[in-house]
């Protein structure tokens, strides 16, 4: 969806951001590094969350922080729905999806088996 939204907005993004590259997150996305690192700390439950929350707040302000917290919390839910129920990706043959999965090496995740077997 990051690639789709970037295409819609005619903006270049660097998908390495998805795997935690802060420089990549800066390409095409306003406050990209701060948003990416904040989301990363929440999902990984690491000790940097407070510092990264403050960095995002300082850079972008409270409204962005709250909306970012909502989206990150929402996807903490979404990934668990997908994996707990074992649903496959909707269109495994789509060219863009195939390219993105290859670029990010997503087949390394155990839950990829839910899509391979269908």
């Amino acid at each position: 969806m990051l690639r789709v939204s970037a295409l819609y907005n005619e903006t270049e993004v660097d998908l390495r951001a998805v795997n935690g590259d802060a420089k990549g997150a800066a390409v095409g996305v306003e406050f990209g590094p701060e948003l990416m690192l904040f989301a990363e700390s929440l999902a990984s439950r690491d000790e940097d969350l407070e510092r990264r929350r403050q960095a995002l707040l300082n850079a972008a302000g409270p409204a962005v922080l709250v909306d970012a917290a909502g989206v990150a919390a929402n996807f903490q839910r979404m990934v668990r729905i997908a994996d707990a129920i074992g649903i496959p990706v909707d269109d495994r043959s789509g060219e863009m999806g195939r390219h993105v999965r290859a670029e990010l090496d997503l087949e390394r995740f155990p839950s990829a088996a839910n899509s391979v077997s269908v």
Partner: protein, 247 residues
């Protein structure tokens, strides 16, 4: 008691988020389709206990979660199979397999109960994670309401995706008419439909925390949000990658 009073929050929180959280807390306390109100609140408590459970931590480090045995750090009121499922959804969801779900069913947890449990765990977790993201204390869980479970099961189900039956794309009829706004669905929207209210609950929360289903089709700027779609999807993608979610 007024839940989710965000007046004292460290940053101003949109009223629709507070209302969505309050609305879910009310639904959490009531009897569901397959769990009583007390059991639903107990499941929510286990979603919290999981984050500090020593057995879950040991399993997470193991090559196979089945290689580590022991007892979960947990509360009362739920069968052990339900506690285990709730903890796994929080701490090791990427290694839940069809075999795990089928073993849970063999141990007495029906697929319907499993789906409702997943729905309660993830809804509670998403609210808790919002609090943790902003450095706020977790909200006290609601007092359970008495009453009977409905045992509601949709009329049209298929077994073409996932570990449990789901409503097929053309099966949202009768009581489920309008379940997917706009008439188009996706596997993630179908995932919890063995218990349709579980999907309705997550859509209500997603509408406030992320976007409505209709809003997901808008790849530009939602006027009610301070971040644009690319910013949202960067956050979503990083959270998904950290969780090793292929979907």
């Amino acid at each position: 008691m007024t839940f989710f009073d965000y007046d004292q929050a460290p940053v101003p929180i949109r009223p629709d988020i507070a209302e969505a959280h309050r609305d879910y807390w009310r639904k959490l306390a009531r009897p569901g389709s397959w769990w009583t109100g007390a059991e639903r609140v107990a499941i929510a408590a286990e979603s919290r206990n999981a984050t500090t459970c020593r057995l879950c931590m040991a399993r997470k480090q193991a090559l196979s979660p089945e290689s580590v045995t022991g007892e979960h750090d947990c509360g009362d009121g739920l069968p052990a199979t339900a506690v285990d499922a709730a903890h796994r959804v929080v701490t090791d969801q990427g290694r839940i397999t069809r075999r795990y779900v089928e073993n849970s069913v063999a141990a007495g947890l029906t697929k319907e109960a499993y789906v409702e449990l997943v729905g309660v765990v993830v809804a509670t977790m998403s609210i808790d994670e919002f609090h943790r993201a902003l450095g706020m204390e977790l909200e006290p869980l609601p007092t359970p309401e008495p009453g009977e479970i409905s045992r509601y099961r949709p009329a049209v189900l298929s077994e073409d995706i996932g570990f449990v039956p789901t409503i097929p794309a053309d099966g949202a009829v009768g009581n489920e008419e309008g379940l997917w706004p706009g008439g188009r669905t996706a596997n993630v929207l179908r995932a919890l439909t063995l218990v349709p209210d579980a999907l309705r609950d997550w859509l209500d929360l997603a509408r406030a925390q992320y976007l409505s289903v209709e809003g997901m089709a808008n790849m530009g700027q939602d006027e009610a949000r301070s971040i644009d779609r690319m910013q949202m999807e960067l956050i979503a993608a990083r959270v998904s990658a950290v969780n090793e979610c292929f979907y």
